[in-house]
Subunit: 468 residues, 2 copies
Amino acid sequence: MVQGSFPPPAFASAQDRSALYADLASWLGNRFSQAPALREQHGHTLTWIENQPPDAVAFPQSTDEVVRIVKLCAQVRVPIVAFGAGTSLEGHLNAPYGGLALDFAQMDRILRVNAEDMDCEVEAGVKRKALNTHLRDTGLFFPVDPGADATLGGMAATRASGTCAVRYGTMRENVMNVTAVLASGEVIKTGQRARKSAAGYDLTRLIVGSEGTLGIITQLTLRLYGIPEAVVAAVCPFAALEGACKATAAAIQLGLGVARIELLDALQVRICNVYSKLTLPEVPTLFLEFHGTPAATEEQVKIFSDLAEANGGGPLSYTANPEERAKLWAARHDVYWAQRAYAPGKSAYVTDICVPISNLAACVKETEADIEELGLTVPVVGHVGDGNFHAVPLVDMSDADEVRRAKIFADRMTGRALSFEGTCTGEHGIGQGKKTYLAAEAGAGIEAMRAIKQALDPCCILNPGKII
Amino acid sequence: MVQGSFPPPAFASAQDRSALYADLASWLGNRFSQAPALREQHGHTLTWIENQPPDAVAFPQSTDEVVRIVKLCAQVRVPIVAFGAGTSLEGHLNAPYGGLALDFAQMDRILRVNAEDMDCEVEAGVKRKALNTHLRDTGLFFPVDPGADATLGGMAATRASGTCAVRYGTMRENVMNVTAVLASGEVIKTGQRARKSAAGYDLTRLIVGSEGTLGIITQLTLRLYGIPEAVVAAVCPFAALEGACKATAAAIQLGLGVARIELLDALQVRICNVYSKLTLPEVPTLFLEFHGTPAATEEQVKIFSDLAEANGGGPLSYTANPEERAKLWAARHDVYWAQRAYAPGKSAYVTDICVPISNLAACVKETEADIEELGLTVPVVGHVGDGNFHAVPLVDMSDADEVRRAKIFADRMTGRALSFEGTCTGEHGIGQGKKTYLAAEAGAGIEAMRAIKQALDPCCILNPGKII
């Protein structure tokens, strides 16, 4: 087992980098740039972590081009950071050792839709909304929905999930295989289109969630689902967060099959009212969605309504009107921007814990007490059907004391997640922001991860400084 | 990336082995044995591959004991083969380099059932039927059902699936975390009890399906499901295999949510009639099961009945009677023994391909032509809802020509699987039997697997000679 710190000390000298970038510029023309604004954009993603721009940005158009770029970078040890839509939250795309950002914006072809098999093959730069627009006529859709209009390659790399995971699973369950370029320049395709396989190590699941540190995803095959006959959205206010959590747990335990079940605390509802022009009562609230036949969704609404009432909630209001549904989910998807707008100049110090559903109510209750004690402004929002929620201190990063308190808050969140048998990140990943938390959570597993990283990327050129 | 062949040449000398076994005998007492019959039993599993017994068998009772044994074996490079119930089919448990079989029969405690979270924690030696018996009062069940009464540790190690995978997924989806002892003797727990996590590399999915070559599973946490309110089993005859496949594909594409959908060709039905005392018409037949509310299962039966009729099938007969259901599934689960009884003295040269559902009918049709051409006795049986089926030449292993034809048949099956974008093994795994097929299927991925193996088990003491 490999011990010791990553990355290894020596990346390319300034001179070697310059020579490489000159080569890339002459080969790629206007698909290569060292313009400061572009570099800054590629280091600066949706995170409170400080910007660390790459030296340069390249826009490959094929797996073969990625192979050639990786081989050139590997020769002189220049770091490579694969870049999708830049919507990750934990500094995954920062370039602490400089190097090259590989932006997949020009690899956005939908290669094939196999409607009969309910799967499709796409390039890594395809965005999820574009895919669903493309699929509309087939009666199929891709359900993983992290809110942001992320690329599917980026979503796979970070094991994204979001609002629909409670019913349809995360990228872990919905990526059937990936084509990835390894640090050696070798291309692997990690599986076929069969629904299951017992053929060797599960390289698909190893690459999914590895945040660009083990291989660069260039294509992927995704599972699709039939668009449900009926879709009903609902909003349900509660007297207390705890009651909303308990109603959620009851629904999950009952196997209600809800497609979305999202918690917003009173502050988050207020923030959404302002930003998204809603008029909801400013109390703890669940946003829900039910998928099925008209009869089944009607039954689900009825059952959930009863569960809410038994836990200090209601009345539940619901709608099958597409515009009203769209407005509700747009508000949910915009919470990050709504939070930023609510506290201008402040950063969103996002936390992301996930616990067993039976521990959710207690965990949220302790979190509320912490918010009170630390005197922070912290909206709470979450995919509670999975036991996953975000408490988001809005922090002036130039106010040392506020930053200190936010750090204490985040540390306690992680400790609480572990004490409730949960994880420090349900969906946002490790990036730079959660490396110490991962170490606490994974224990000896960290050494196994390090050994795998060392085996597949011995010079640590793939997204160095992330995860381990 | 590591190149070259595995395992490395040098395992322990006979002298070092003897010294180790003497130590183990004095420590473990009657939980250690070198009795020939026991050794043979541990090398001889359900496979056509020749028996290669281990030197000795040990029965650990705790993770700590496994750690101590692994460390002792690692010191002198003695191979370790983790052994569950011995029901694998591809020579996973053969000991080509001798060494120690670790039999988990005495690690069979159900540690905890978390009914509210619908999960449970078990030791690796718990068998699936014992778990479901234990769970009965909770209203929950564990759905992965490979037929054999395998251990849950063994099922995780081989990424088992079986009849219910079409609805509930395989071990890949239903193992939440494992506790595993690595070759170094380090213990990793690969996850928490949260339903999802984005915390680092997916070590759970890496260990699941690694066939004891990356770590020895000692405990695992499993997802559970509510026992459905209504369970209806059905039998549906078809004029041709192709029609049965097409009806299956139609049901999957419709999202019918069938819980089991099993194909038997005419020969397999005849074999089952004889062995399990059934009186089914000896034609291609689907065995099905529907789970849900009484109304939902009734609707499913009706819809499937129509699909069958449209594809040359029917009439469908069905029952909710528990005894009749049990008899049907017992017959399905006993096909391996029924095949062996049908052709006394012959071995079952099992194949196990899995293809996209839209290619299933064509794939089965080509397989039928091969059976005809090669003059073999080959029952066909499969989990066709996943696109997974087994064509099983019954072969006299002392008849060189029959073996040759069976080998041609199996090779063609794999080639066909790949040409139909499928896999050489849907559920049985690689073991010794499918190493060359894996190499063809995984391409450059094999080198990545080898690098991972080398990183986690550099002396190759964990189940050497398997997968890669």
